[in-house]
């Protein structure tokens, strides 16, 4: 399925799944955000290393892991692109690499600097 690059560009990370899942349990929400904040840069680093060493299978495995995080942030189109990138890597191709990096960067920028006080989790 062809993806509209404009839609992909417009898609923003959302905490709606986290809010729904945590059902008011702020400690759990903060714990999960902290894990995401710790792991995503490490995974991005591993992905870059895998590409540098031309180990595309390893890179595909990391993309698969990162894609769970993309889906966690309710980014449907971005998740679809990550799946396509993963499949391309398994065939030794680099399709959608640039777009994938943009998505990860977007999430990294979105993650709160201090997960203990994510303003979006405040409830009425």
């Amino acid at each position: 399925m062809l993806m509209n690059p404009h839609n992909l560009h417009l898609e923003l990370p959302s905490l709606s799944y986290l809010k729904f899942l945590s059902n008011g349990n702020k400690n759990f929400a903060i714990k999960l955000l902290q894990i995401l904040k710790d792991e995503l840069p490490e995974e991005l680093d591993s992905y870059n290393k895998a590409l540098k060493s031309k180990n595309y299978f390893w890179a595909a495995e990391i993309v698969h892991k990162i894609n769970h995080k993309i889906a966690f942030f309710q980014m449907e189109q971005s998740s679809q692109l990550a799946t396509e990138h993963e499949l391309a890597l398994r065939e030794g191709k680099l399709n959608n690499q640039e777009e994938f990096l943009e998505i990860v960067t977007k999430i990294l920028k979105f993650l709160p600097e201090y997960p203990e006080e994510p303003h979006e989790l405040h409830c009425s």
Partner: protein, 233 residues
């Protein structure tokens, strides 16, 4: 009943452990980052239920199913929808949960296991129906919005402005039309030109509400109803 979680991804393990902790009948007796460690554990212990991720490096969930003995019920978890058909070729597969796991689907899967094992279900805290989403049409593109991300909606003549944290969308529609797409427990029309997300209120002073940097007027006729909706001490 006792269960184990097998998943190489820490976020997924945390989510499953959290959802299990909401179930009075369920106790997690082990979490494993790979299928091999789980397999070694199961050689010594018997469990009622296994949450098993399919896609794991090395020894996959399917490899695990092929070697598994015993009568444990299995709930498969994956982000790969295509695996679902293959999964049901194996015995004792009760359910297949797509990541990120929907708590309501999780609950249904647990009820199914309880039924199979003849365990009486216990009433637990409930989740709302799901994440409320709606689509807006902008320049012939349909853009999906999660209603929880919307701070407020403002009427501007023939258009409405949908305010998110870091973006606003101008949509050719009316407030009354858009109101029908929003969950009424979270959204309230405080003025003929404004619908607000109640969870985004910073403060209320006299006849105005502060959301982000915006000061929104409250109609006199709607103030009492608004106060009823708030969790006042």
């Amino acid at each position: 009943m006792n269960c184990i979680v097998v998943d190489d991804e820490s976020v997924s393990r945390e989510i499953l452990a959290f959802l299990c902790s909401q179930e009075p009948n369920l106790e997690v007796v082990g979490t494993f980052t790979n299928a091999m460690d789980a397999f070694i554990f199961l050689n010594k212990e018997q469990v009622d239920l296994i949450f098993l991720d399919i896609h794991m490096p090395g020894f996959s969930g399917f490899d695990f199913l092929q070697t598994l003995k015993g009568s444990s019920q299995i709930i498969l978890t994956t982000s790969d929808k295509e695996s679902a058909l293959k999964a049901f070729e194996y015995e004792n597969i009760v359910a297949f949960l797509i990541k990120p796991i929907d708590p309501n689907r999780f609950k249904k899967a647990i009820l199914k296991v309880e039924k199979i094992l003849n365990i009486p279900s216990v009433e637990t805290s409930t989740y709302s129906k799901g994440i409320s989403q709606f689509y807006i049409n902008i320049d012939k593109r349909l853009i999906k919005l999660n209603s929880e991300d919307v701070n407020m909606i403002e009427a501007k003549g023939d258009y409405v402005l949908i305010h998110l944290d870091d973006k606003e969308y101008r949509v050719h529609t009316t407030l009354s039309k858009i109101k029908t797409k929003l969950p009424s427990e979270f959204f309230f029309q405080v003025h003929r030109s404004y619908i607000i997300n109640l969870s985004k209120i910073i403060d209320i002073q006299d006849n105005t509400i502060l959301i982000q940097k915006f000061v929104i007027p409250i109609s006199r006729s709607r103030r009492a109803e608004l106060m009823n909706k708030l969790n006042l001490i």
